[in-house]
Symmetry: C2
Subunit: 138 residues, 2 copies
DNA sequence: ACTACGACCTCTAGCGGCTAGAGGTTCAAG
DNA sequence: CTTGAACCTCTAGCCGCTAGAGGTCGTAGT
């Protein structure tokens, strides 16, 4: 297997400039090159980039991925640390979900302020007055 | 009411450089100045900045806020458009929540891959192989 | 009236995580 | 051997701020 950057891009779903960017920031190693300086990738890089892409999709920051990749190369005692990183990330995700759920409720209340039933649109005021639907009193 | 930028910052919870940034990108109008070029704000700006802050907290992008502010000054026929913006935003939020929920399940499966029960930590492989917990077969 | 000092000013550059474009070179199919 | 798609490097831009340098202003206390 001897993939050009475009092949690697197609196989991983990571855009070409992003692959080069990952190399630049040290997330992917510098690959072999042809005589004309074109990058050629093997299965290791394919695997690693798939890992990176999936971790990014899961919302891991580049720094966290760097940690995970570092720990992965030291498989003995690192397991607990990998768990810790994942747990920390899980806590963040749960927090995000909670915040977004509150937001969703608020937005639903906003669109429920149906303009057919009231004379004036209140969404602007609702936003200005910190998001409470105020059709009637209050 | 004649607020210096620091007062405005304290009252809205928006940081001073951010206020100046909002002015720079045209989200806030250029305020009155003292003879020594210091900004002085009145109640209109306070109200507008509170609106902006709340909308940002709700996850509206600056462009959307610009739209909302523009529509707010044309209150008659704009109501439906404001609803549309809000509904679009709500759909995006729901989408994010769905994605994050899937992510949470995946992360929970990952941390459930308890390293006391297995000989090798699988988190790395789980991430690499697109997130399926593969303790046993597969 | 003067001084001290905190709050303000402008300007530039940086952050993360890419993305886009210019302008030039290489590879591989026909 | 030619074409043209794919590659190369380099620089700059995106969003939404944030930080710092280096200098000026306003006001409280004396």
């Amino acid at each position: 297997m001897n993939l050009a950057i475009g092949d690697l891009s197609r196989r991983t779903g990571v855009k070409i400039p992003t692959i080069r960017y990952y190399e630049q920031i040290g997330l992917l190693p510098s690959p072999a090159r042809t005589e004309g300086q074109q990058r050629r990738y093997g299965p290791d890089e394919l695997h690693r980039l798939n890992f990176i892409r999936h971790a990014r999709e899961l919302g891991f920051e580049v720094d966290a991925i760097r940690q995970l990749l570092g720990l992965a190369s030291d498989p003995g005692r690192s397991c607990g640390e990998v768990h810790d990183i994942t747990k920390t990330h899980l806590a963040e995700v749960n927090h995000k979900i909670a915040r977004l759920s509150a937001l969703r409720d608020e937005l639903e209340a906003m669109v429920a302020c149906d303009n057919r039933r009231i004379s004036e649109c209140r969404i602007i005021e609702v936003l200005a007055d910190h998001g409470e639907c105020q059709h009637r009193q209050h």
